[in-house]
């Protein structure tokens, strides 16, 4: 059941991204920015948590889920440390993801070479 709901929720979020990609002239970078900010906003408004409860990874894996993790982390840190938590919480919660992106990104870029037209 978890897998089905993950599939449905994740697929729906990606399909929404596809509509943006095809129907507007938004570049992928701009779409990613929209999705991560939307994730933060929806979490702040309390609207994303139910989607996470239902979809599990289907809500957490898309970039909206990254925004969700950022917002939740900020809230948790504010609960624990007050105002300064707003600054530290988001990055702390997503630290593993950011570090992984930096490290694996660098290593892969060093080892491999880009392939041109196939």
């Amino acid at each position: 059941m978890n897998y089905l709901s993950a599939f449905l929720v994740g697929g729906a979020i990606c399909a929404a991204g596809q509509i943006l990609l095809s129907k507007t002239d938004l570049t992928p970078a701009r779409i990613l920015v929209i999705f991560v900010t939307a994730g933060v906003a929806l979490t702040a408004l309390g609207l994303y948590e139910p989607i996470v409860k239902f979809g599990g990874a289907g809500a957490k894996v898309p970039l909206t889920g990254f925004g969700y993790a950022l917002a939740k982390g900020a809230y948790k840190a504010v609960d624990e440390s007050g105002l300064l938590g707003a600054l530290s919480g988001g990055v702390t919660a997503t630290a593993a993801g950011i570090s992984a992106a930096v490290l694996f990104g660098y290593i892969v870029a060093v080892i491999f070479t880009p392939k041109t037209r196939k």
Binding site: G10, I31, V61, P62, G97, Y106, I111
Partner: protein, 152 residues
């Protein structure tokens, strides 16, 4: 011959918009749905692996899943197959966190010949940078608003 005169009447740009070859939206959305959905299913499996077999808590499992997916996105980009997925799946390859990894590795790979500091190092964030800027900034703002509401 003044092309603007003969073309203004026919509203060239509007004509171009209507006549431009379009990609089949429904097919693309379906492909994005399936590809994105499957990546999320993989994420769900990693969650289960993290919680049930490796004994992580909620947060640990989140970090584990994110790390593994980023690794996979990076390595598939390195092997030159992630863009093949993108050709088929469109947003289904861009929106999941694997797409974030792809957007980190792809420009870094490209600019290797410009050196490891200003080439690879700097270019890691040409596309992913804005994501971090807007994501982190909005989470800070959300945190501040949350604090203000709590205090009031």
């Amino acid at each position: 011959m003044d092309i603007k005169k003969s073309v203004d009447d026919t509203n060239y740009l509007q004509y171009v918009k209507n006549a431009a070859p379009k990609s089949p939206l429904l097919k693309e959305c379906v492909m994005a749905f399936i590809a994105g959905g499957l990546i999320c299913v993989l994420g769900e499996a990693l969650d289960d692996l993290g919680k049930c077999i490796l004994g992580f808590g909620e947060e640990g499992a989140d970090s584990f899943r994110t790390t593994v997916l980023i690794f996979l996105g990076a390595i598939f980009t390195g092997f030159g197959v992630y863009d093949l997925l993108g050709r088929v799946a469109g947003a289904g390859s861009i929106v999941p966190i694997t797409g974030f990894a792809n957007s980190v590795v792809a420009p870094a790979l490209e600019f290797k010949w410009e050196g490891y500091v200003l080439g690879v190092g700097a270019k890691l964030f040409t596309i992913a940078g804005p994501v971090l800027v807007y994501g982190i900034s909005s989470s800070v703002i959300a945190g501040v608003i949350y604090y203000i509401i709590k205090v009031l």
